[in-house]
C-alpha cells in the first residue's frame, strides 16, 4: 500500500496535476489580486476626482454667495452666510453636510446624518492640512465617504465643511463586476486545468502502458523468455505525436531485441553443445588413448616378467604392442588432421568421376576380402569439382572402407556419381545392418561408434567420419547419411559443381 502511494506521488501525472493545479490557482489568485487592486484603485480614483470636483464647486458657490451678500471674505462672513451656503449646496445635491468654524465648532448641519467632526481622521487631517476623505467599505456592501474640506477663499481659510456621501450603489456594482470576473476566471481556469489534465492523462497513460509492457517483458526475460505478445498490448491509437513515435520505436526495438535474444539463445545452445562435445571429445580421446596404452602397458609388463621364458607370449605381446601403438599413432595423426585448418589456395579443378573410379579400383582388393565388390555408377559422365585430390580421395576411401567393414559381406557396394541441380553428388550405398535413426545425427561426431567393440576390433579410430565431414565442409560441400536398418545405408557427399565438361 505504501509502495503504491509512493509510486502515485512520484508519478508524472500526479506531479503535473499538482503543477497545473498550482498554476491554475496561482493564476486565479493573481487575477483576483489584480482585479481587487484595480477595483480599489478605480473606486479611490473616482471618489478622489469627485471629491476634488465637490471641493471646487463648494468653494465656487461659497465665494459667489459671499460676493452676492457683500460679505467679507473671512470667518465672520462665512458664519453669516452659512445658511445661504447650506441652501445653495443643498440645491446642487450636497444634502448631507456639516459646517464648522475655524475652531471646529458646528455652525450648521443639513441632512439627517450627524457628522461629529472631531472624532474623524478626515476632519483632523483637513484641519491640519488639506481636504481629506475617509472611505469606509463594509462587508454588507455599504460604502460611505466622509469628506472634510477647509473653506479657503482667495487664499484665506474661513471654515470647514464635512460631507457625507453614500457610495454603496457604486461599490456594489464594482463588487458585482469583480465577482463576475472572479467566477468567470475561475471557470475558465478550471476548464483549462481539466483540459490540460485530460491531455496529460492521455499522454501519461501511453507512457504508463509502455512502462507496464517493459515491466512484463523484463519479468519474462528474467525467466529466460521473450514475451513478444506483451508488446502487442501497446496501443498507439493512431497517434502520430512523440508518444506514438516512441511506441513505434519501442515495438521496433522489441523486434530487434527478440531477434538478438533468439540469436543469443541459439549461440548459448551451440556453446553448450560445443562445450558438451568438447568434454565428450576429451573423454573419448583420453579413453581412446588409454585403451591401447593399457594394452601396451599390460603386454609390456607381461613380457618383462615372462617374455624371456614364454616365446609365444613374447611374440603375441610384441604384435599387440605394435598393433596398438600403430593405432595410437594413426589416431594421433588423425587428431592432428582434425585440428588442421586448410585453406582453399591448394585447390584445383579435378575430375571427380576419375577419382571415384580410381578409389573403386583401389578398394576392390579389400572388398574381395569381405566377398564384396565395388561398382561405380554414373561414370560415363565426367564431373568436375574444385578441391584437393588427396583429401577427397581420403573421404571416399574412408566411406568405401566403412561400407566394406560394416556392410553385409558378399553384397555390392555402389559408388554413384550424379549431378543434382548445381551440385555434384557421390553416394556410397551398401547393404547391411545399417544405422539406427537415433545414431544418424551423431555418426559424424568424433569417436562416435554405434558398436564400439566391433569398431575397435575392426581397427577403427572413431575419427574417420568426423575427418570426412571436416574435409567436405572445407570444400564447401555437405555430407549426409541415411539408413534403413537391415536394408540399405547411403552416405551422400555433395560438392558445388563447376560443370560436367571442363577443359583441364
Amino acid at each position: 500500500m505504501y509502495q503504491k502511494k509512493i509510486k502515485f506521488v512520484n508519478s508524472i501525472l500526479f506531479r503535473m496535476s499538482l503543477w497545473v493545479l498550482g498554476v491554475g490557482i496561482g493564476g486565479i489568485l493573481l487575477i483576483t489580486c489584480f482585479v481587487r487592486f484595480q477595483m480599489r484603485y478605480n473606486i479611490e480614483k473616482q471618489i478622489t476626482e469627485e471629491m476634488q470636483q465637490i471641493r471646487d464647486n463648494t468653494l465656487l458657490y461659497i465665494h459667489q454667495i459671499l460676493l452676492l451678500n457683500n460679505d467679507i471674505v473671512g470667518e465672520e462672513g462665512f458664519e453669516k452666510s452659512v445658511r445661504a451656503v447650506k441652501q445653495q449646496l443643498r440645491s446642487v445635491g450636497y444634502r448631507e453636510a456639516a459646517y464648522y468654524n475655524l475652531d471646529g465648532e458646528l455652525l450648521e448641519q443639513s441632512g439627517n446624518r450627524i457628522l461629529p467632526g472631531e472624532k474623524r481622521e478626515d476632519f483632523e487631517k483637513a484641519m491640519e492640512l488639506n481636504s481629506t476623505f475617509t472611505l469606509y467599505c463594509r462587508k454588507d456592501s455599504q460604502c460611505e465617504v466622509y469628506f472634510t474640506m477647509p473653506v479657503e477663499i482667495i487664499g484665506k481659510r474661513i471654515g470647514y465643511i464635512s460631507y457625507y456621501f453614500d457610495y454603496g450603489e457604486q461599490y456594489r456594482r464594482e463588487w458585482n463586476t469583480f465577482e463576475r470576473t472572479f467566477w468567470i476566471t475561475a471557470v475558465i481556469f478550471a476548464l483549462i486545468c481539466l483540459i490540460t489534465w485530460i491531455m496529460l492523462w492521455r499522454m501519461v497513460s501511453s507512457i504508463r502502458n509502455l512502462s507496464r509492457v517493459t515491466s512484463e517483458i523484463s519479468l519474462r526475460l528474467s525467466e529466460g523468455q521473450f514475451d513478444h505478445a506483451a508488446a502487442g498490448q501497446l496501443t498507439f491509437n493512431g497517434r502520430k505525436d512523440e508518444i506514438g513515435e516512441l511506441s513505434l520505436n519501442f515495438t521496433r526495438m522489441l523486434d530487434v531485441a527478440e531477434e538478438q535474444f533468439q540469436r543469443i539463445q541459439d549461440d548459448n545452445s551451440r556453446i553448450r553443445n560445443l562445450l558438451n562435445s568438447r568434454q565428450e571429445f576429451y573423454n573419448n580421446v583420453t579413453h581412446e588413448l588409454k585403451t591401447p596404452l593399457t594394452t601396451i602397458s599390460g603386454y609390456a609388463q607381461l613380457m618383462e616378467k615372462n617374455g624371456q621364458e614364454d616365446r609365444e607370449l613374447f611374440y603375441k605381446g610384441t604384435r599387440h604392442i605394435l598393433g596398438e601403438s600403430t593405432r595410437l599413432y594413426r589416431m594421433v595423426i588423425q587428431l592432428l588432421e582434425m585440428q588442421e585448418e586448410k585453406g582453399t589456395k591448394d585447390k584445383k579443378v579435378l575430375n571427380l568421376t576419375a577419382l571415384i573410379v580410381n578409389v573403386a579400383d583401389t578398394m576392390q582388393i579389400k572388398a574381395k576380402r569381405y566377398n564384396s565388390r565395388i561398382v561405380p555408377e554414373g561414370i560415363e559422365t565426367d564431373y568436375y569439382v574444385k578441391g584437393r585430390e588427396d583429401k577427397l580421395r581420403q573421404v571416399f576411401i574412408n566411406l568405401v572402407d566403412n561400407a566394406i567393414k560394416y556392410g553385409e559381406p558378399g553384397e555390392t557396394i555402389r559408388l554413384i556419381a550424379e549431378a543434382k541441380k548445381d551440385k555434384v553428388c557421390v553416394s556410397v550405398v551398401n547393404r547391411g545392418q545399417g544405422i539406427e535413426n537415433k545414431d544418424l545425427e551423431n555418426i559424424f561426431e568424433p569417436f562416435f561408434r554405434t558398436d564400439k567393440e566391433l569398431s575397435r576390433e575392426l581397427g577403427s579410430t572413431g575419427l574417420g567420419l568426423s575427418i570426412s565431414r571436416k574435409i567436405v565442409k572445407e570444400h564447401g560441400g555437405n555430407i549426409e547419411a541415411d539408413s534403413t536398418p537391415g536394408e540399405e545405408t547411403v552416405f551422400m557427399v555433395s560438392f558445388p559443381g563447376i560443370g560436367s565438361e571442363v577443359n583441364v
Binding site: 489568485l29 487631517k125 488639506n130 481629506t132
Partner: protein
C-alpha cells in the same frame, strides 16, 4: 535527501495547495472591510492653476413669472444697479428698468404692440433693437427703441420678405450695424451688399418732431452664396467684415448650373470698415479653411476652427495666427480689450452652467479657472466688457412658471 524528507516535502506541497485553494476562495470572492483616508492634493498642486481673473462682485436679479411672460433680461449701465426687462403685458411689449436692490421698477415704457422678433437689448440697456412687422406690410422693418425717450426709430424697411438681415451692437451700446445675411436663402446673393452703421449718438429731432438717426452705408462686393461675419470693436470705430463662401467658379461670370460639377474651392474676403472715416480697407487672408470669427478686439481677431480658439494678431496689416486652446462645446465671450476670455460650459448632465475665465498675458493664455457656477436649464452670455460679464439663465418651475435670472459679474 531521505525518503522521509521527500515525503514531508510532498505533504507540505499538498497542504500548501489546500491552503491556497481555501485562501483564494475565501480572500478572492469575499467582501472585506476597508477603511482608507486620503488627502486631496492642493489646488495649486493639481496643476489647475489660477487664471488671474478675480470676480470682485456679483449682482443678480431674478424674475419669477410665467414662462412666456419674460422676453428678455439685460443689465443696465455698469454701476447703475439696474436690470432691464422686456415683458409681454396686456398693452403689448413693455420695457422696464428695475432696481436690483429693491426689486422695484424704476421706469416702465411701452415698446411695441406688434409682433416682434430678433430682439437685442444694447449693452447698457438704453436701446432695444428688434424686427417688427407693420400692420399692412408683408416685409418687416428694423426698429430701434430708445428707452429713455420712449420713442422708436425705424432704421430701415425691406421690400422683399425673403431678405434676411442681421445686426449687432457695439460693446458700448452706441452703434448698431446691420447687414444682409449671405446664406443660401438670401435674395440675390451675387448682388453687392452693404453694411450699415447707425450711430445712436446722432439721434436728433427732425422738423416734423420725429426722431432721425444718421446712418452710414458701406457697399461690399457680392460674391455668391456666402457666410458673412460683421464684428465691431468695443466702441464701434472699427468693424471687421468677412465673407466666406464656397465658390462655384465665380458665379458672377459663369451661369450656375446644378448639373455642373461643384468646385469646392474655398475662398474668403476680409475687410475693415472704419465708419468715422468712411473707409473700407481690404485685409489679408489668414486662414486656408473656413473659420468662425468670434470677436474683434484690441488684441486682434479671435476665431474658432475645429474646436480650437485662435488669435489673429495684426489682422489689419500682417496677420499672424496663434493657436490658443480647445474650446469645443463651449460658448466663447471675449472682452473688448481681448485679454479676458470667458467660456460657458454646461456640466453635471447639463444641469449646471459654469463660467470659466482665461486671461491672455501678451499672447500666452493663463490657466482656465472656474469663476461662476449655477444650476440653470438654459442661459447664455449677454455681454462681456472690460469690467464685467453679464449672464442670463433660467430654470423651469412647476405650473409653467420659470425663474429668469440675470447676473453681472464684476472683475
Amino acid at each position: 535527501m531521505s525518503k522521509l524528507k521527500k515525503r514531508w516535502m510532498r505533504q507540505s506541497i499538498l497542504a500548501m495547495s489546500t491552503v491556497i485553494v481555501t485562501g483564494s476562495i475565501l480572500c478572492g470572492c469575499s467582501r472585506q472591510e476597508m477603511t482608507r483616508t486620503i488627502s486631496l492634493p492642493d489646488i495649486e498642486d493639481e496643476g489647475k492653476g489660477i487664471s488671474g481673473i478675480v470676480i470682485k462682485n456679483i449682482q443678480e436679479y431674478t424674475y419669477g413669472g410665467h414662462s412666456e411672460d419674460n422676453l428678455r433680461l439685460a443689465w443696465g449701465k455698469t454701476g447703475s444697479n439696474t436690470a432691464i426687462q422686456l415683458r409681454y403685458e396686456e398693452e403689448g411689449y413693455v420695457y422696464r428698468k428695475i432696481d436690483i436692490n429693491t426689486k422695484e421698477t424704476i421706469s416702465k415704457e411701452f415698446m411695441d404692440d406688434r409682433m416682434v422678433s430678433n430682439i437685442q437689448i444694447a449693452p447698457g440697456g438704453r436701446y432695444v433693437s428688434y424686427e417688427a412687422e407693420p400692420a399692412k406690410k408683408a416685409s418687416p422693418e428694423l426698429v430701434v427703441f430708445l428707452a429713455e425717450e420712449g420713442e422708436h426709430i425705424v432704421l430701415r424697411e425691406w421690400n422683399e420678405s425673403l431678405q434676411f438681415f442681421s445686426y449687432i451692437w457695439s460693446d458700448d451700446g452706441t452703434k448698431l450695424f446691420s447687414w444682409q445675411d449671405g446664406d443660401n436663402y438670401a435674395f440675390s446673393p451675387d448682388t453687392d451688399w452693404c453694411v450699415t452703421c447707425y450711430d445712436m449718438e446722432t439721434v436728433k429731432q427732425d422738423s416734423n418732431g420725429g426722431l432721425t438717426i444718421e446712418k452710414k452705408e458701406f457697399r461690399m462686393e457680392g460674391n455668391g452664396h456666402a457666410w458673412r461675419h460683421v464684428l465691431p470693436n468695443a466702441d464701434g470705430t472699427k468693424v471687421y467684415v468677412r465673407e466666406e463662401y464656397e465658390s462655384f467658379s465665380d458665379s458672377k461670370e459663369k451661369e450656375y448650373s446644378e448639373n455642373q460639377e461643384i468646385k469646392k474651392k474655398k475662398a474668403a474676403k476680409n475687410w475693415l470698415i472704419m465708419p468715422e472715416k468712411q473707409e473700407i480697407k481690404k485685409l489679408q487672408e489668414y486662414a486656408d479653411e473656413p473659420v468662425n470669427p468670434v470677436k474683434y478686439t484690441k488684441k486682434g481677431l479671435y476665431f474658432q476652427k475645429e474646436g480650437k480658439l485662435l488669435l489673429v494678431e495684426n489682422p489689419e496689416d500682417t496677420p499672424s495666427v496663434k493657436e490658443l486652446f480647445r474650446v469645443a462645446g463651449m460658448e466663447v465671450n471675449i472682452c473688448g480689450n481681448g485679454d479676458h476670455i470667458f467660456l460657458i460650459e454646461w456640466m453635471d448632465d447639463l444641469q449646471s452652467m459654469q463660467l470659466s475665465g482665461v486671461k491672455l498675458e501678451g499672447t500666452e493664455p493663463t490657466a482656465k479657472q472656474a469663476l461662476y457656477k449655477a444650476s440653470f436649464e438654459g442661459g447664455d452670455c449677454i455681454s462681456a466688457d472690460d469690467s464685467a460679464i453679464v449672464l442670463q439663465g433660467y430654470e423651469y418651475l412647476e405650473n409653467d412658471r420659470c425663474n429668469f435670472k440675470v447676473m453681472e459679474l464684476g472683475y
